[in-house]
């Protein structure tokens, strides 16, 4: 059976990169005695896949991984046992079973929510609320997007679903994510700074990914069911 696990990542764990988080979760499965399925061969690996890599330095309230298990107890118990063997800074939020025909987490991702805070001393000198409004009124938001080999021009406008000021002076955004067009929140903020005629400091932003959604706008956890 396929299970979807939602977790949060905070504190010093934000410095642990994606590959190391994968290794971390493989060890979690063993420590928590999860009856996870393995591939065959001389070096069997766990059947496990992550929704979307999270950059080093980012926190998250909505990370996902899918695993395949041979046996299971209940959502609550599995959540409890995994949280028993967690490092501080990672917390399992939900364990759900997936319908047989469900797409895996990685290919489901279509949108991501992010909140952004400004680190002390890096608050923008321009008025965010004014700039954000004007920024979104542009007919097109053309930026250069770097790919591995070259760069290409992308219009951000249709890829930004929401972009607004939060009550505490930060920014909230919902942007395209996943395999078709993945927009990093830094990229949007760079465009905002550029629009305001300023440069973003390298360490200005403290970014939290809030959740991931599929193309229907469902949170990835809502695809699964408690058991």
């Amino acid at each position: 059976m396929k299970l979807r696990i939602k977790f949060r990542k905070y504190g010093v764990m934000k410095f642990i990169g994606h590959l190391d988080m994968m290794r971390y979760f493989q060890k979690v499965m063993r420590r928590a005695d999860i009856d996870i399925a393995y591939s065959g061969g001389f070096s069997p690996h766990q059947i496990m896949s992550f929704a979307s890599p999270l950059g080093v330095g980012l926190m998250s309230n909505g990370e996902y991984l899918d695993i395949e298990v041979h046996s299971w107890t209940s959502s609550d118990q599995m959540l409890f046992y995994m949280n028993q063997v967690m490092a501080e800074g990672v917390e399992i939020l939900a364990v759900r079973k997936l319908p047989d025909n469900a797409k895996n987490a990685m290919s489901s991702v279509a949108f991501a929510d992010y909140t952004i805070q400004f680190r002390e001393g890096y608050e923008p000198s321009f008025s965010l609320s004014e700039i954000l409004t004007e920024f979104l009124l542009q007919p097109q938001i053309l930026i250069e997007k770097q790919t591995k080999k070259s760069s290409r021009q992308v219009d951000l406008k249709p890829l930004i679903q929401k972009l607004l000021l939060t009550k505490d002076g930060g920014v909230f955004m919902r942007v395209s994510a996943g395999s078709v067009e993945n927009i990093k929140p830094e990229l949007v903020m760079d465009a905002v700074y550029h629009f305001a005629g300023e440069e973003r400091g390298e360490f200005a932003l403290e970014i939290t990914r809030e959740d991931l959604y599929d193309e229907n706008g469902w949170s990835l956890i809502d695809v699964g069911e408690e058991f």
């Binding site: 504190g11 010093v12 764990m13 410095f15 642990i16 990169g17 190391d20 290794r23 971390y24 493989q26 060890k27 979690v28 499965m29 063993r30 420590r31 005695d33 996870i36 393995y38 001389f42 070096s43 069997p44 690996h45 766990q46 080093v56 330095g57 063997v85 490092a87 501080e88 800074g89 680190r119 360490f203 403290e206």
Partner: protein
Amino acid sequence: MRKPALNDEILLTIEKPARYIGNEINSVMKDPAKVDIRFAMCFPDVYEIGMSHLGIQILYDMFNRRDDVWCERVFSPWTDLDQIMREKKIPLFALESQEPLRKFDFLGITLQYEMCYTNILQILELSEIPLLSRDRTEEDPIVIGGGPCTYNPEPIAEFFDFFYIGEGETQYDAIFELYKENRKNGKSRRDFLMKVCQVPGIYVPSFYDTVYHEDGTIQSFTPNIPEAPKCIEKQVVMSLTDAPYPTAPVVPFIKVTQDRVVLEIQRGCIRGCRFCQAGMLYRPLREKDVEVLKDYAEKMLKNTGHEEISLSSLSSSDYSALKEIVTFLVDEFHGKGVNISLPSLRIDAFALDVMSKVQDIKKSSLTFAPEAGSQRMRDVINKGLTEDMILHGAGMAFQGGWNKVKLYFMLGLPGETEEDIKEIAVLSDKIARHYYELIPKEARNGKVQITSSTSFFIPKPFTPFQWAPMNTREDFQNKAHLLNDTFKEQLNRKSLKYNWHEADLSELEGVFARGDRKCAKVLLNAYKKGCLFDSWSEFFQYQKWLEAFREEGVSIDFYNTRERSEDEVFPWDFIDIGVTKSFLRREWQNAKTESVTPNCREKCSGCGASNFKGGVCFETKN
């Protein structure tokens, strides 16, 4: 959640910030207000190397079992962070509490290889602890050295308050009690050192004076206070089965060199290879009970979640319950997503059988360590491995489907001739020939691949070769080139690959291995010139080291290339490792006459280690 000692900007700028944040599974957090002793356990190299070391995991666990001690870890900041800490004056901190080391009661540094010595100075300097023991005050931590390099602590004696000579399991409780009592009575640092120097195995360098002859050799080495013993006896834990062992070792987030559960099956070695320091230092042989090992294996895999388990010892094939433990691991864990990583076993039917179960034959290789190419030379070093044994083992493996062989040799062994060197290539070629003779063309899985590597021999204290001259850097380079040319002349040269290292580092390692207190100023000088992470070829600065030797007027040849007379007083003679100097001298003579000494199971040769009331000779007699 505790606050990291480094801010986000720094952690996001440097490579692998996970090296510095702590928080790993099984790391131990305590309330500083509820402990009496803060201990920082240091491996003076980068995190990934330090965290792969079994010894500090053992002591970390053992210390933290005490409610009154909080033991934390610290490693060398990599060069990127080193620079930032110096610029921003950030003091070095321990991983768990993220608090500066200078607040600690003890800083314990493990000394695993000589080429980490500049990193000791880095650790002290970044911690804002005076480099020299004599400059430290009541406010500074007590700096302890432990590990194999303490068997000749003299080149680094001035930097340590005391050395713990031997296995850490025996005396730390006594040391902690003395420390607490000393503090309770309001006594000073010196008072504590005067007490601790009377604990067996403890060497306080400042309580000893060395007088030299005019030629630079030692005339006398004597205590300068009545409390300090003339001779320091190595500490050994006689029942390895009952000794504490970490069943929940710390699990790093990032991939480290030894990223697996390690089961220590025995300490000591029965073999008596004359170049091998560990083989002498860790005598007598002590095995750990196999039932205890099985229990540990299960607990450690469960507590860490590691996907791999391996065995640790100097010579696993000599462990008497090897078949039982290996069979247990394979039956119990193989197929449950746990890899069994086998140590280099002597190749026999059993070894090939388990290897075929747990490894992909097509990808894995066989390893032999003949150490020398000619039988004559193997007799000189007392390596009980013959050409027949190697060819027979390789042949069995070839028939089992393997076609990759790794061979390890040394260049520069005492009495080595050109012929001995060339024999390395000849032996490698013979193994290749054996493959083509034995395996018919249609059954071959491609070419045979023989990879031969040489390292340069460095004479070490407490070995029969402690008297031997070491080759110069030029000798080493010439020998490696001669051997490389000889490989090119072999029939199966296309199946042979030869690797060797640069000799610069070996030269330096030689000096610090057999050096005396006069070497300290060279170390200090080289460090001040910027030498650091010397064991990392990308950072090793040979020219700066040469300048440091020149400026301090210290001769490399005095330590390396001179043959020492049999009555010379060595800097490490005050340490009693059980194995006697007269046994080592006898073995040095046996080497010169190419006489083989049987291993401990065949016959006791009276090395002296049975004084500890253990080892195979003692067990059979009693």
